[in-house]
Symmetry: C2
Subunit: 240 residues, 2 copies
DNA sequence: CTAGTGTCATATGTCTTATAAAAGACACAA
DNA sequence: TTGTGTCTTTTATAAGACATATGACACTAG
């Protein structure tokens, strides 16, 4: 029978809005046009625009403020950070996090990374290796791989001098906003190098976390591999 | 200023629907009354009922089928199982899972369990210890704690003879439906007993997973502690 | 001059109504 | 017996009217 080529009006509107987000026409933190403006622009009712925006809000791409407007979501907000960094302390409130850059280099995509990011093996990449220190405690050792073409002007000093989440830097300086991510977790034993950096004995059990992050339209644009020391922190997961 | 004691109509309807779900008036898998019926019952428009049900559907408490009706969500469906058991094989499709009951007994709540489940230490509990075997491979060793009062007639044979998820048994036999859960993950080294059951050497790195499950209205009703062997399986987590 | 208060413009939120589309049951015909 | 049209019931979509929240700004009492 006929393929599901039909799309209701509000979804077509949503697609148009998504395109404006993706293209960067509306920047993170800024307000998008009002529902009424969009309604008259697209020649539909406010309610239809509303339903389109409702779905974008449900996907955390925008957020609404009654009386003020609808705003493009951003990684600058505190709240968003905890959605992507899922470690919480066993007791007490999460404290400050210090990010120590260990290595920054340009390299070629391995077959594994290329497959994850839908690139070709050998494509230019940026690789970042760093240590996250909570208070005095080194907790996360991770490696971040990014497509070199998307992050052309990225430098070691930009990364090491940046305060706040990497995703914040990416969206403000490179116009690439991470929208969601998928993680795969395993338990692993610390090797010599990792143990030294995390301040544990070799063989110490660690959480091995592999992440693929996606920007708009489910396009994968980042691959990470991290080792988490879970002696005083745990990984939060919600099932629902 | 006045406290936020105001609640829009659709939320009041939602609360009424929730109460029908909680009380068991509408059973898992069954259809709830049509939007029109509910609208005339509560003397509001279909759209208002609709918005109430929208929120319930977003919380996975019910699901809609155009042309058929709206149904109470259930743990019987395959789809729901993967929301609560987040292990996936490194490659291939997930196979059959065998559940081996190791221990079943009634006991008193420890201070720790009591705190998690909002009970008093010493309250009667049911404790289940079991092994999940994927194919031939023992992968999960876990301990489940339940309030004895809620699960009065629960027996070892009911558990060991039941096919399918425990949550399925709970909802069909005891009218308690698990709606969501929170997990805390750490890496741990296998002890002697655990290693033997999971078929690894003592000291082998394992995923330690602690879960609190909630029924309607965020009432906690189950506490679990599991050890996951992640040699051939990984824990899936979505950030978004 | 200043602190408070009222008013207005504009934004999202709520609610209703009308109509469309999906699903299944059933009658009927080839 | 098998398909096909049609009717009923259900959720889905769309539009419009009205409510509420917010912030800016003007006005006024002190």
């Amino acid at each position: 029978m006929g393929s599901p080529t039909f799309s209701p009006l509000y979804r077509q509107i949503k697609a148009l809005l998504l395109e404006s987000l993706r293209s960067g026409a509306w920047r993170p933190g800024e307000a998008i046009p009002s529902e009424m403006d969009l309604a008259s622009l697209y020649k539909v009712s406010q309610g239809t625009v509303r339903k389109a925006i409702d779905e974008l809000a449900a996907e955390n791409l925008v957020y609404r403020r009654q009386g003020k407007g609808t705003f493009v979501a951003t990684h600058g907000e505190r709240q968003v950070r905890f959605r992507f960094l899922r470690l919480a302390p066993d007791s007490g409130e999460p404290g400050a996090v210090e990010r120590r850059l260990l290595e920054f280099r340009r390299a070629r995509a391995s077959a594994e990374v290329a497959r994850m990011l839908e690139l070709k093996a050998g494509d230019p990449m940026v690789m970042i290796r760093r240590l996250l220190v909570f208070g005095e405690d080194p907790v996360v050792l991770e490696e971040v791989w990014l497509p070199g073409t998307l992050f052309k002007g990225l430098t070691a000093s930009a990364v090491s001098e940046h305060r706040g989440a990497l995703y914040n830097l990416f969206e403000t300086q490179f116009g690439t906003r991470m929208v969601r991510a998928e993680e795969k977790l395993k338990a692993a034993a610390a090797d010599e190098a990792g143990a030294a950096l995390l301040g544990v004995e070799p063989g110490h059990p660690l959480l091995a976390v592999e992440r693929v992050s996606y920007t708009y339209s489910d396009k994968p644009v980042e691959w990470r591999r991290g080792l988490y020391k879970t002696d005083h922190y745990f990984y939060r997961s919600e099932l629902g």
